[in-house]
Every structure is written in C-alpha cells, then in structure tokens.
Symmetry: C2
C-alpha cells in the first residue's frame, strides 16, 4: 500500500507540480483546471479517468461547464501518497 507522505515530502512534491496546492482543512491536494469549453473539459476528464482506472486510484472531481476542480488524497492511507502525486502529474500532462 502507498504510504502517507510527510508534510515535507508533500511540499517538495507540490513544488514540482504546477497549479496544485494543499486543500484547506484536509490532507489532500487540489487543482482547478480551466479549459475552453465543455468538450475540452470532458475530454480531459475522459483521458484522466482511463489513467485513474488503470492506476486503481480515483479522483474526487467536480465539473461545471469548462472547469474541473480536482481533489486527490489516498483514503486508505489517510492523506497524500505517491499515488496522488503520480495522478496529479498525469493530469497536468493531459491538460498541457
């Protein structure tokens, strides 16, 4: 099982993850992705869903038209793990 990252390791990982920040009040990381329209936003979600399913690690996310709010944490570990960092990186790559 993936181990919960220390605050130090979490911050170091976040420093290399454009746009991701700690989620206030939770041990989680989040990012709001903004696209041109719904087509592009849902296209992003579809590609990210395939990655998430393959990793067996899933996001919490909310979509309103062209924005997608994502929150990542690892429930079983009670915080942020390497799985969240990996999924965050993959999402950034897809959105690029």
């Amino acid at each position: 099982m993936a181990e919960r990252l220390s605050a130090e390791a979490r911050n170091q990982a976040l420093s290399g993850l454009s746009g991701w920040t700690e989620t206030p009040g939770r041990e989680a990381i989040g990012k709001t992705f903004t696209f041109r329209d719904f087509n592009e936003a849902f296209g992003f979600m579809t590609r990210a869903a395939l990655v998430a399913e393959k990793m067996d690690h899933h996001p919490e996310w909310k979509n309103v038209y062209k924005t997608v709010d994502v929150v990542l944490s690892t429930h079983d570990a009670g915080g942020v793990t390497a799985l969240d960092i990996e999924l965050a990186k993959a999402m950034n790559a897809i959105a690029r």
Copy 2:
C-alpha cells in the same frame, strides 16, 4: 430561450422524475446517482456528457468513485427550465 418554470410546474415535473429533488438554497434540481464502481459511474457520465453537449445544456456534477452528484439549473433563465427536466429524464434513462 427556455423559460424558468414556476414552482408549481417545477414540482409537477419533479413528481415524475424518480430521485430528483429541489436543491436547498438554490433554484435548481439535484440527484445523487450511485453505481457499482468507477467504471459504471464514469460510463454514465460519458453517456450523459454526449447528451448534454448535443442539447448545449450542461450539468454541474461531482464524481467520487462510484457516486455522481448532479445539479441542474439554467443559468440564463435564473432557475429550472424545460431543458433541466429533459436532461434529468435523459440521465435517469441512462442510469436505468
């Protein structure tokens, strides 16, 4: 443009829409769909996204693993319109 439904018309439409209720504090309707797993939940979202895009009327929705929380309202009309009722019906049909 679709016209905002009166409270009476909204309630009548809701009575025929299994699982949909008024969203507290907003002029909107909502439903939480629960599936077996992420595959089924995201499959529902994908089918609903195609309907929404074709209607040019989009949901606010949040997905956490096997649940999808949907809120529908028509921004331009400041409330619930026939478009929301139509999309809600389509989502129920997809989830069935």
